[in-house]
Subunit: 189 residues, 4 copies
Amino acid sequence: MPNASATLSPELAASQWFNTPAPLTLRALRGRPVLLHTFQLLCPGCVAEAIPQVQRIERVFAGTDLQIIGLHTVFEHHAAMTPATLEAFLHEYRITHPVAVDQPSEHSPVPVTMQRYGFRGTPSAVLIGRNGAILHQAFGVEDPIAVGARIAMALSAAIPAAVEDDPAGDANGCAGDRCEVPAPSSAAA
Amino acid sequence: MPNASATLSPELAASQWFNTPAPLTLRALRGRPVLLHTFQLLCPGCVAEAIPQVQRIERVFAGTDLQIIGLHTVFEHHAAMTPATLEAFLHEYRITHPVAVDQPSEHSPVPVTMQRYGFRGTPSAVLIGRNGAILHQAFGVEDPIAVGARIAMALSAAIPAAVEDDPAGDANGCAGDRCEVPAPSSAAA
Amino acid sequence: MPNASATLSPELAASQWFNTPAPLTLRALRGRPVLLHTFQLLCPGCVAEAIPQVQRIERVFAGTDLQIIGLHTVFEHHAAMTPATLEAFLHEYRITHPVAVDQPSEHSPVPVTMQRYGFRGTPSAVLIGRNGAILHQAFGVEDPIAVGARIAMALSAAIPAAVEDDPAGDANGCAGDRCEVPAPSSAAA
Amino acid sequence: MPNASATLSPELAASQWFNTPAPLTLRALRGRPVLLHTFQLLCPGCVAEAIPQVQRIERVFAGTDLQIIGLHTVFEHHAAMTPATLEAFLHEYRITHPVAVDQPSEHSPVPVTMQRYGFRGTPSAVLIGRNGAILHQAFGVEDPIAVGARIAMALSAAIPAAVEDDPAGDANGCAGDRCEVPAPSSAAA
């Protein structure tokens, strides 16, 4: 459950977006719960289980203000999973919510956003509360009953009073590759 | 979503109980959310889908005050689904939460509690709020994500101030076969 | 694969039959492959996996002379799985091939045919060749690809020349409770 | 079932092979049954159902002389499904049997082998008998019991007397892009 000392979610670093007219930022989405799910198009568990579950989540919570975002976090076989391949994948699997290509790192096979969140692999998912805090982060596919319960709780939380003026946002501002992951102890400072 | 004019849940009428030292009543459970699921041991959909889902619900919400109750609502093949058969069924399927045998009706193949709730068949389920109101009732198996969401909402509701002194309880008191189903319009009166 | 020294299948001992105008005997079915599958109506693996697989076998081999026989081998919870319960079970699960109730033993909770075959539990299955020999016997559910392969091989075997005059049949004749299980070494004698 | 007038299987046209030290030809495999399965790595039905079934076939018939060959028949999203992507796909999905890239056509988005066989899409599969005849061709995933039965029958067929000297082979010889699809009526001529 979120509280005042909860970890603020690091910002997304994307080299490309699909299914959205303009790039999204978690900062701009503050006030709405966000389900950020990561995948690789050649990851068997993502294709067989995680993505179908996200699509069921999408249907169940269609009437709510939950924002679902996919993040293509390629950390192996980089030449095999290009944006062209991803675009065809999204078409074939009928994925219509916004999907970002995680920004490649100059120093590591692990892309930037994946590093910021410390994702252990794919599929991973993060549920972000209305106040921008990380409510839950997991590696692998979880029981759909528990997933539904957590999202319902995130949706039922009160909308923060002054979402747009949150000063913590500045302190944790992200710019390209240099965005810092807020440490838990300083997040609420 | 529940409100002041929501339907109060009719009381259970049971001819026998399993997995509980003493009979349960919804009246006594007021203050806790209750998931009441109905089944017949020879109902294929109950055995293959509904009961496994209830058992997953039980695991996910193990640390909460959700009360799960099974109700064996035999409305056909009465001679085939005796209490002895039910007892062995509960053993073989490792069902350990309380299960009631719906009280047979003198005038109908449909047992008493099933009539009170107007269940259309098996499997059916009712989610009852802390205040005793019916939050959701369904025939058939529902998406586990939605099921999880609804139960989480029921659990997060505030506990009613004076559960034990609820005067509406008296007006809708149940005694054996003579318990009346509260009409929607009078439930909040 | 069957050969001259293969084990002849013990005869069925049934106290009751469903879905057939008259009792069946393996002796009379000699010349046709027989799939004998055992189950208990309260056995979760039987209900969830084995019986649906048998029903798929029935559809795939509908145009052949394969004879499918179910055998209700109750070895526990005897009072819970009566013939009346079985009859309703067959109705609800739409099982239309012949099903025998394995004859209760006077000396053991394990019924007679189950003892003859040495079934370890339910679900079990035996595939019997056109010549009456046991081609394959298994406990648990097997890969449907392998199951299909084995039945196809049994169907493609030549029909024995003199099925009706097989002298081995007499040596292994069954009468009520006193039918002897032919030992592998003497089966071809 | 195959007979003298059965359709001989057209030869493969491959631009690249994986999981084999040298290219395979159906001509050279004459005498062995061949299961040729086609897929596209972005085809949901291939990934979720057809390829897992092929891998189960591989396990069940591991001790036989059945040859399994995959054929990557890209007929859409060509830029998305490159050989580099295919190679990573085979690695991630642990596909270890020989896989050919169907040779792109100069005149059509449909590749050459796919045209020869008239495959309607992916997944498709062809079962080829020991004599080189097409025993069964199907679009979509079929019942595993029937699949197992057909392969067992193909395996149990007698090995043709003079596999290597089959004169029909010459008439239908394939060389690169110029191999002709034998018409059913002329196939045995």
